[in-house]
Amino acid sequence: MAGETSARLSAPVYFISVALLTLAGFGAAMLARPAFGHAVLQWAGLEPVPRALPASFYAVRVEPLLKDRCIGCHGESRQKAGLRLDSFAEVMLGSRHGAVVRPGDARHSELFTRISLPPSDDKAMPPSGKTPLTDDEVTVIRLWIANGASASLPAGAVKGAPKLVKPVVIPELDPARAARQRAPLAAAVQQVQRRLPGVVGYESRGSAELEVDASLMGLRFGDAELAMLAPLAAHIVRANFSDTAITDASASTLAAMTGLERLRLADTRISDNTIRALAPLKKLRSLTATGTKVTDESLASLRQKGVAIYADPDVH
């Protein structure tokens, strides 16, 4: 057994001391790093997790900006410098170096100073190689902090805020969905495409709606050819029969194109009878009838419904 020459601590006393020391160290770390301290208290349920109100300036203006520009490196999956910016609570917790927001003092808030630095500065955020924030975006952050970095201040209460620009959302192309929508008509479309090459096509890659352009066939496209489109009529949204040989005999087929939005009938032999037959087309927004025998009398009712009419001047 080991030689012992002086007084010793008992094991329980030692381990109690260690436990106390550990707790003291933990407490010191919480004080030295408030972000860590608040995170621990919030995790333990001893401190409420602050949340921004849905209509607040933070929720409407600041949060979307942070999510768009910052959380790639300061979000759930990555926390550069220990900083998360994906919720109001995380923003206020700050980084491992301390708070990044000083309410009311934008100039001394790191969140603002970093995004205000010139892109060439090593400390600039976003880092070099990434698109800097716009002046308006920087202003939004500055105003939010200057107004107290509030979680509840209404979006409209911040004076001088740049106008909110809503981004245009372009839906994702879903080829599978388009294929499903096209399936019921696919055979009929293929049949018409074989018989009238180049006349019928889909409106876009993601659409099952159809576009018809018979103008290049010229006089070889007449009422009989237009009748071939009858099975597809309800799915045609744009049609160009200009310079073709169609007549009023096609009026009923045209009237069956209930989804039609734009129709071109320039330089054809149609008359007021065809124009009158178009009256039930509720989606029609534009009609071209130059070089035809149509009169203003028949066009008037369509014009009243808001359809843009393009006809010869003397018709008006």
Binding site: A2, S6, R8, K80, R96
Partner: protein, 229 residues
């Protein structure tokens, strides 16, 4: 404060490579933490690669080094570890020249965790301007995941380090056995040695060869990284 009796004969148990390894690891772990915390990533890279070289050396020294440095000397089956811990509790502690079974377990755990930390660091990034030497070999998402693991392992290092310090304090204050001084001088009191133990010490030239080999591997990794596009 001298804990051992003044006339207790001292016996060499820790060779120079083990002692240098121990204190260099202390310094490098601290440097790695500080440099990462402050964003001094070049220093972090240097300390991490040096740590990797030392760990590789220690693995070799655990196979070819002096008696008390060898894994075969301080890695014991769980039954013996439990038996040792029981002897501690009962007050008739079993004596070992080098690491005791519990200490050996701690050493191995520390080596493995530090090795995992050094290896994950090779593939980690700071998301800004710095990539670990081999990070560009992987897709950025994988590098990011490894970076998260790198961060988690640091917490494990903190826990192990605290356990290590608490254990050393336990021996010092409860068992009146100073483990720190021998790790500095290499010698411990004869009265803390088991009976009839015969220690052999491997030549320093072998240690130097092993270290150069390990440092060569770390340097090679660094150059591999430098050659990536």
């Amino acid at each position: 404060m001298s804990i051992e009796t003044a006339h207790d004969k001292k016996v060499l148990v820790w060779d120079l490579p083990v002692r240098l390894f121990h204190w260099c690891v202390v310094a490098l772990v601290f440097t790695s933490w500080l440099s990462a915390d402050q964003g001094w990533m070049t220093i972090h890279l240097a300390s991490g690669l040096t740590l990797l070289a030392l760990l590789l050396f220690r693995l070799g020294w655990g196979l070819f080094g002096s008696t008390t440095a060898r894994f075969s000397d301080f890695l014991h089956p769980p039954r013996r570890v439990l038996g040792y811990l029981k002897s501690l509790k009962d007050g008739d502690r079993l004596l070992y020249a080098g690491h005791n079974p519990a200490g050996g377990l701690m050493v191995m755990a520390m080596i493995l965790v530090l090795l995992a930390q050094a290896l994950t660091g090779l593939f980690a990034n700071d998301g800004l301007h710095f990539n670990g030497p081999l990070a560009l070999l992987l897709p950025s998402e994988t590098s990011d995941s490894i970076t998260s693991i790198h961060r988690l392992i640091f917490d494990a290092i903190l826990v192990l380090t605290w356990c290590h310090i608490v254990a050393v304090g336990f021996y010092l204050l409860v068992k009146r056995d100073n483990l720190v001084l021998p790790m500095l001088t290499g010698r411990k009191p004869h009265s803390h040695m088991p009976q009839g133990v015969n220690l052999t010490f491997t030549r320093l030239t072998i240690a130097l060869l092993l270290f150069f080999l390990s440092a060569g591997i770390a340097t090679w990794i660094l150059f591999q990284g430098a050659s990536l596009p």
